[in-house]
């Protein structure tokens, strides 16, 4: 295998190292191009990491739905009729819409329709009180800082327990005061605190001034029949949310005799839309930086080719001598191409090393900064491998230009006395 021939590499390394300055200049273009490419990729990755962090803890294909008032008269009903979902609707959706993975109904106390008071030792917190199933934790993750979240036993036995948000805790308890095991009063009923959660840093629907109590407890204690205020759902990842959302609405509109064009009767929020627009944005950004980077790289490699082309002209005599001494065109070509590859690969690796160092340094610096939307900026291994592969392939192709020029030189012309 000639690629492993030590003499060949010695010859090439000798040629390159004995023309240090030339080699150095040739390398610069690719070196900087590689740095630009990798820094661009690293920065965009860092940005999309930041976005991911924002969405962390919220299922990307989640859908929230609640009932409102109709805005169109339909089938003899006047407009302005209040629609109320019930637990039957939850069962209906479970049965009729197989694309739904999780569905978790909620009763909300407080807000604009039901007055609620959360009270302890003379203080009130103004929290909203949410009757939920433990499943809600899988739709919007609660960061439990102390204790635990609601579980199925709490639902089964309709326990009077609650999980409170950090703000609610601060309103109701003194700083550092033990809350777990202590009671708070919701509309006069005592609930034992079993957990405290911290809201997600970025996207959070419920906020952290809220009190979560078991759905069943809420229904039994505060009444409301089988009404459901709000349904949180996740759709299986193989489906996209909007068509399923339409399907669900159609089903419910049909059931409640709502005009098909009534946009106001059922409210919904599709988290995936935000996800999609953000990931489309980062995707475009990523593609763009790859595109820019690759062209910079191409420019760098063309610069190598250019310089090699010039040096081939400069080395006409040397190449002529080599050929007079028995170097076949193939050998001459191989040497030039390998020189091109070696220069680009070496410069590429240098660029890789430096840009990794720069990104690592930048990450350390940005770590503490809240307002820099870059988290863990680094290019991925596939990105690096693709860039590197392209680098090598392009350097071979472009090395062939000076190589072909070199073998076109006839030894007789090269050696002709000036």
């Amino acid at each position: 295998m000639w690629l492993l021939d030590r003499d060949l590499w010695t010859e090439i390394l000798n040629t390159l190292s004995k023309n240090m300055f030339r080699t150095f200049l040739t390398m610069l273009g690719v070196f900087f191009a590689m740095i630009i490419l990798l820094l661009l990729l690293g920065a965009t990755n860092g940005m999309s990491n930041s976005f991911d962090k924002i969405f962390e803890g919220t299922s990307s294909n989640s859908l929230f739905m609640w009932s409102q008032q109709t805005s169109e008269p339909y089938k003899g009903f006047e407009r302005g009729r209040r629609i109320r979902f019930t637990t039957d609707d939850v069962e209906l959706l479970k049965k009729q819409i197989p694309e739904i993975d999780i569905i978790s109904p909620r009763i909300q106390l407080g807000g604009y329709n039901t007055p609620v008071s959360v009270y302890r030792n003379g203080r009130t917190s103004g929290s909203s009180v949410l009757g939920d199933y433990p499943l809600i934790d899988e739709v919007t993750k609660k960061n439990i800082v102390e204790g635990r979240f609601l579980n199925n036993k709490d639902i089964e036995y309709s326990k009077k327990v609650c999980v409170i948000g950090q703000e609610a805790y601060e309103q109701l308890f003194d700083k550092g005061e033990e809350a777990i095991g202590h009671s708070i009063r919701v509309n006069g009923v005592f609930f034992t605190v079993i957990g405290i959660y911290k809201k997600n840093e970025n996207i959070d629907i419920d906020g952290d001034n809220a009190v979560f109590i078991p759905f069943t407890t809420c229904k039994k204690t505060f009444g409301g029949g089988n009404q459901v205020g709000f349904m949180a759902m996740t759709i299986y990842p193989e489906y996209t949310v909007p068509p399923i959302e339409a399907k669900i609405k159609k089903l419910l509109k049909n059931k409640y005799s709502i005009h098909p064009d009534d946009e106001r009767a059922i409210g919904s929020f599709d988290m995936s839309r935000i996800f999609n627009s953000v990931s489309a944005f980062t995707g475009v950004l990523n593609g763009f930086s790859f595109f820019v980077g690759i062209f910079t790289l191409l420019a760098g490699i063309i610069a190598v080719s250019n310089i090699l082309l010039i040096t081939v002209k400069e080395r006409t005599k040397e190449i002529g001598i080599r050929r007079a001494l028995g170097a076949t065109p193939r050998v001459v070509k191989r040497q030039i191409v390998l020189e091109a590859i070696l220069i680009t690969v070496f410069a590429g690796l240098l660029g890789f090393t430096l840009s990794t160092a720069i990104l690592a340094g930048a990450n350390v610096i940005f770590e503490g900064m809240e307002n820099v939307p870059i988290t863990n900026a680094i290019f991925s291994i596939p990105q690096f491998l693709i860039s590197f592969f392209l680098l090598v392939v392009l350097s071979v192709l472009i090395g062939l230009i000076p190589a072909n020029r070199a073998v076109k030189v006839k030894p007789i012309d090269a050696l002709r006395e000036e």
């Binding site: 005599k317 050929r323 007079a324 065109p329 006839k410 007789i412």
Partner: protein, 233 residues
């Protein structure tokens, strides 16, 4: 060793063609030391280029050591040059960033000789031209005569059938020229076939046979009594 029959060569210069070699016939036997003489434009360099497989003949035949040299592609020509011929040039043509010993070893590299053997052979031939202690020096650190001796060592290293020297003393002063000719004579004494192209009569006289070219034809081909260069050294 070399057989030339009815050799013609012309160059196209725009619309006219320049007939440079007009039917040459001559043979060189093994162990000969032949001077090809002629003034500039006589076709002696063209002849040497054809003999050196750096250029192709138009008509006639050229046989080197029994092998017909005709229609060679570049690869074949390079291999034949490497195997059959050693070149010595007027301007030495050493590779300037390689040391003396690396220059000498270069044809061996193209022959595929391994590193150790290359080094040994190169040193042996450098010793033969009296430059063993200069092995690690770059051409820029050597005098003209020394450079030409390195070039001679390089030509010898490949152990060719024929050595071809194109004005080997053209860039040297007369004292150094005689030293180089002395070396060439000694190499010839060892049985090597050598062709020297020159326009200097005193250099030609140091060969054993002079072929005189004029306007593309051989006007004279005579054996001479060799003047030993050692008497001037």
């Amino acid at each position: 060793m070399i057989e030339i029959k009815d050799l013609h060569k012309s160059y196209k210069m725009g619309s006219n063609s320049l007939h440079v070699l007009k039917g040459l016939n001559f043979n060189i036997k093994e162990g000969e030391l032949v001077a090809i003489m002629g003034s500039s434009g006589s076709g002696k360099s063209t002849l040497l280029n054809i003999l050196g497989m750096l250029d192709e003949l138009d008509e006639g035949s050229y046989t080197l050591d029994g092998v017909p040299i005709k229609n060679l592609n570049e690869t074949k020509a390079a291999q034949y040059r490497n195997k059959f011929l050693g070149f010595i040039f007027q301007s030495f043509n050493l590779i300037n960033y390689k040391t003396a010993v690396e220059n000498v070893a270069l044809p061996l590299y193209y022959q595929g000789v391994n590193r150790k053997e290359r080094q040994e052979k190169a040193l042996k031939y450098l010793e033969q031209v009296g430059l063993k202690e200069w092995a690690g020096h770059l051409p820029s650190e050597l005098s003209g005569g020394q450079k030409q001796r390195v070039a001679i060592a390089r030509a010898l290293a490949a152990e060719p059938k024929v050595l071809m020297a194109d004005e080997p003393t053209g860039a040297l002063d007369s004292q150094t020229s005689y030293e180089v000719m002395d070396l060439i004579q000694k190499i010839n004494d060892d049985g090597n076939t050598i062709l020297v192209v020159t326009h200097e009569p005193d250099i030609a006289d140091m060969c054993k046979r002079i072929v005189h070219l004029k306007d593309g034809v051989i006007v004279e081909d005579k054996k001479v009594d060799q003047v030993r260069a050692s008497q001037y050294v």
